[in-house]
Every structure is written in structure tokens, then in C-alpha cells.
């Protein structure tokens, strides 16, 4: 069933997003992972940016575009909005390490897993394309597309991976 929203798009156009329709991608996936999508899911895949490198966004979007999909990019702080509106169908989450207690995944994975847990949305796990360091350099947050984003003298903390306990998976 389509849920008509009263959201305002740009210059007051209304949009329609189907309830429980969005497939949300978090992390960096192997190339073969992208072959698993059905043609009917062409318009439904939303990709999280994956600060600081945006590698998650770049890899996922390029692979989906190659396969004729039309991915939609959202910033890492926008996932909650989709959950709040009950728009998320399922999550595909990449992991670096998996054991009986949980997974190690790209930073942001815990946010998505807690949101999924709270909203009753299923998570599918896939091995990651690459193993990231635990923590990145502060400078990675100080620039975006080559432009400086912060005044001098600011510190940054840049975790790149985080642990997601089984409770949320």
C-alpha cells in the first residue's frame, strides 16, 4: 500500500514513498553482492554516505549504476528519518569480522542496527570488501571534497569500525 506523505519536496512538490519499501545499504560490499538485487528493486535502494571517505557511497552507487539501478544517496544522519516513517524494508550491512557475539563493521553500523532493532526491521549480513583500521586520522574529517570544514585548532575523533552485538542483529 502506498502511503501518501505531506512532505514538501523542493518547491512544494509532494512525494510518495511506499511503506516498508526501502532497502538500506550500510558499509562497503564485495562486487558480487550487487548481483543479488532483483530488477523490481531498481528504485528502492538507498545508500548511506559513509563518512569520512565516502567509499561506501562511491562503491555502492557505481556498482548499482553499472547494473541499471537508480540508487538514492542519503547522509549518515538521515537513516533515522526513514525508520521513523516506517519506510525501511530491510538492511544490508557489511562486516569485517563475525563471531558468536556479533560483528565488526564500518562505523555507523551500530546506529543502523539499533534503529532496526527498535523498528523491527530485518538485517542481512554480508562480508565487507575491505578491512578498515580501527581509527582514522583527524584530518580526514577536516576536509570534504578538498574544502576545509573546520576552524584551526579543532580536534577530531574518527572511529572507522565498531562492534555490533548480536542483540541488535
Amino acid at each position: 500500500m502506498w502511503s501518501r506523505t505531506t512532505l514538501l519536496v523542493g518547491q512544494l512538490q509532494s512525494i510518495l514513498i511506499k511503506k516498508r519499501s526501502i532497502i538500506l545499504l550500510q558499509g562497503i560490499f564485495k562486487e558480487t553482492f550487487f548481483d543479488s538485487f532483483k530488477k523490481t528493486e531498481k528504485e528502492r535502494v538507498f545508500v548511506l554516505e559513509g563518512r569520512p571517505s565516502f567509499k561506501a557511497a562511491r562503491v555502492s552507487c557505481q556498482e548499482l549504476l553499472k547494473r541499471g539501478f537508480s540508487p538514492t544517496l542519503i547522509a549518515d544522519n538521515m537513516a533515522g528519518f526513514l525508520f521513523y516513517r516506517n519506510w525501511v524494508n530491510r538492511i544490508h550491512l557489511s562486516f569485517q569480522i563475525k563471531d558468536e557475539n556479533g560483528i565488526l563493521c564500518c562505523v555507523g553500523g551500530l546506529i543502523i542496527a539499533v534503529l532496526a532493532y527498535k523498528h523491527g526491521v530485518p538485517i542481512k549480513l554480508f562480508p565487507s570488501e575491505e578491512n578498515l583500521e580501527l581509527v582514522g586520522k583527524s584530518e580526514e574529517l577536516f576536509y570534504l571534497n578538498g574544502a576545509k570544514t573546520v576552524p584551526p585548532g579543532i580536534k577530531a575523533y574518527v572511529p572507522l569500525v565498531e562492534w555490533v552485538p548480536n542483540k541488535y542483529l
Partner: protein, 319 residues
């Protein structure tokens, strides 16, 4: 104790017939005020997000002061100004503010008083009152912040958190702040880090996706955010990203505080119109695309946070 004021606390000032509005999109590199002379220019600075949050409130009230000097049929002019401002952006409660001014104009006309002087006097008195209440809230916020606290904040709280940080320093409290970047405009990196640093506060920038990490690792013990709109049931709207922070704070048992301006005009969060901004604002930064190719973007400007996720509200009355 005198409070050092952040430029973001009162980012629009009327001098003569010109309203000077701090261009927050240029910070921290450039400190520049945009000159606003009429309603159209006021709407432009609001729509272009040159100012936001409390700055919008100041622009609205000062725009009426600008228009009071322009010709006859003041009630009609005030109503036209109110309509233009109400239509500028959907989520901030412009109509709640402009209706107060329209009400004063109607009252003056009905009682055969001078509309211009009555409305002007009321707006200036109203602004003075709001200023005093916000300064009071800064002091309240400083009392809430304890020695040893590590506080996570999101987007920007229009000067109040930074000024509270200044008070805490004067009170010899050792306080640390984490500021989220707040994509896509990076208000956390550009504004919050900047103003906290100006106040001598200890601030660390994190990406929006690092919020759960700092919580689960025990690096923060309070969350403090602002709000753009409040509902009768206690729900509120704030910058996109606030909802997931509130969910995580609840999950990891970290007190979540919000600075609100209570209103009974709208019943619950679901009724707040949410602005969806142009996807290009998300897809392009500094003239370059984030990802190549025909990728779509989705940029909701605000989240709604249900009242049951809020640990405490620090409210001021603006009506």
C-alpha cells in the same frame, strides 16, 4: 556574572533601515553580514539558509520593523509580509510568530491607535523579553552541566550551548563537548566547533555516523540539542539526525536534553510539515559531486523526536 555572547546568539541586528544578518554559510572562514532591506530579501536569506534556527525568528520580527517604515495601509502591508514569511520554509513555526505581530496591528487599528508605533513598541519589547529568557536559559543550562561532563551535541544551538560552556569555564568546571559534523551543511563542524572554541571550550568533532561509538564506549554522559518546533504533546522537530541520536541515547541510557520553545498550536510530531530540500545540496559539496553518475539524493531537513525519548526539556516561552 556577565556572559560572553556568541555571534550566533543574536545573529541579526537592525541598524537604521537595514537589517544586518550574519551569513552562517560562510563561517568559519568569513565573518560577513548580509544587508536586508525588505521582505523579499528577508525571505531570500531564510530560504538560502544564510541564517537558521533562532536567526529566523530575529529576521521575521525585524522584517516587520523594516516594513513599518514603508508607506501607508500598514495592516495590509503587515499581513502581506506575514504571508511571505510564512511561505518561506515549512518546518519552523513562522505563522506562530507572524500571527502575534498581525494581532498587534489589528488591535491598534481597532482601538484607533497609531499602528506603526504600537507594533514597533511591542516588537521591541517582545525581543527584549526573549533575549532575557534566552540568557536565563543559558544560566540554567550551565547549572545542568556538571564538572567532568562530556556532552554530545548536534547541529547548532544558536549560541546558547557555547555561552553555557563559557559560564562553566568561569565556574571552573571541566567540561568536554563532542560536536557532530551535521551533513550536508556541516553546521556542527563549521558553527558549533567554531563558537565553542571561541568560548575556550574543549571540543572534539565527530562524523554523524560515530555517534553510537562514542556513546557505547562511554565517552559521553549527556546529550544536549536545540529544537526548531515543539508540539503540545512534547514531541519536537530538530535538524536531521536528531531522531537517531535520541534513540541511541535512550538505548544506551544517556540523558537526552532539548532546548524547546513550547507551543500548543500543533498537537503531535506527525503533524509537523517536514521540509525536503534540494537533492543537490546533499550531492554536491564545494562545487564537486560526492559520487559520480546519475545518483539521486534525498535530503529531509528535519527529524521529529517523540516526547518519550526526551530526558528533560529546558524550555522558554516565546508566546
Amino acid at each position: 556574572m556577565k556572559i560572553k555572547e556568541s555571534p550566533l546568539f543574536w545573529p541579526a541586528k537592525l541598524k537604521g533601515n537595514i537589517l544586518f544578518v550574519l551569513d552562517e554559510t560562510l563561517l568559519p572562514e568569513r565573518f560577513k553580514y548580509i544587508q536586508v532591506k525588505n521582505t523579499k530579501e528577508a525571505v531570500d536569506v531564510i530560504v538560502g539558509m544564510k541564517t537558521r534556527a533562532f536567526g529566523q525568528f530575529l529576521v521575521v520580527l525585524n522584517t516587520f520593523l523594516l516594513e513599518l517604515g514603508n508607506g501607508k495601509n500598514l495592516l495590509k502591508r503587515i499581513e502581506t509580509t506575514a504571508q511571505a514569511l510564512n511561505n518561506s520554509r515549512p518546518t519552523f513555526p513562522f505563522a506562530e510568530v507572524t500571527s502575534i505581530v498581525v494581532g498587534w496591528a489589528k488591535q491598534a487599528q481597532e482601538k484607533k491607535m497609531d499602528v506603526k508605533s504600537f507594533v514597533k513598541k511591542n516588537i521591541l519589547g517582545y525581543l527584549r523579553g526573549i533575549r532575557m529568557r534566552r540568557l536565563g536559559r543559558v544560566k540554567h543550562l550551565a547549572e545542568l552541566i556538571k564538572d567532568g561532563d562530556s556532552i554530545l551535541t548536534h547541529c547548532n544551538v544558536s549560541g546558547e550551548l557555547a555561552m553555557a560552556a563559557y559560564l562553566c569555564r568561569q565556574q571552573k568546571k571541566d567540561v568536554h563537548f563532542f560536536a557532530t559534523e551535521t551533513r550536508p551543511f556541516l553546521q556542527g563542524a563549521k558553527l558549533t566547533c567554531w563558537e565553542l572554541k571561541r568560548m575556550g571550550a574543549d571540543v572534539t568533532l565527530i562524523a554523524d555516523n560515530a555517534v553510537a561509538s562514542v556513546m557505547v564506549d562511554g565517552l559521553v554522559n549527556k546529550v544536549i540539542v536545540g529544537s526548531d518546533r515543539s508540539c503540545a504533546n512534547g514531541d519536537f522537530a530538530n535538524k536531521i539526525g536528531t531522531y537517531q541520536i535520541a534513540v541511541l541515547a535512550k538505548e544506551f541510557r544517556i540523558p537526552f536534553y532539548v532546548l524547546t520553545q513550547p507551543s500548543s498550536k500543533i498537537q503531535r510530531g506527525e503533524d509537523i510539515p517536514i521540509e525536503i530540500r534540494d537533492e543537490e545540496e546533499l550531492l554536491v559539496y564545494s562545487g564537486k559531486r560526492i559520487v559520480e553518475g546519475q545518483v539521486k539524493g534525498f535530503y529531509p531537513g528535519f527529524d521529529v523526536v517523540p516526547y518519550n525519548l526526551i530526558g528533560g526539556s529546558i524550555a522558554i516561552n516565546i508566546n
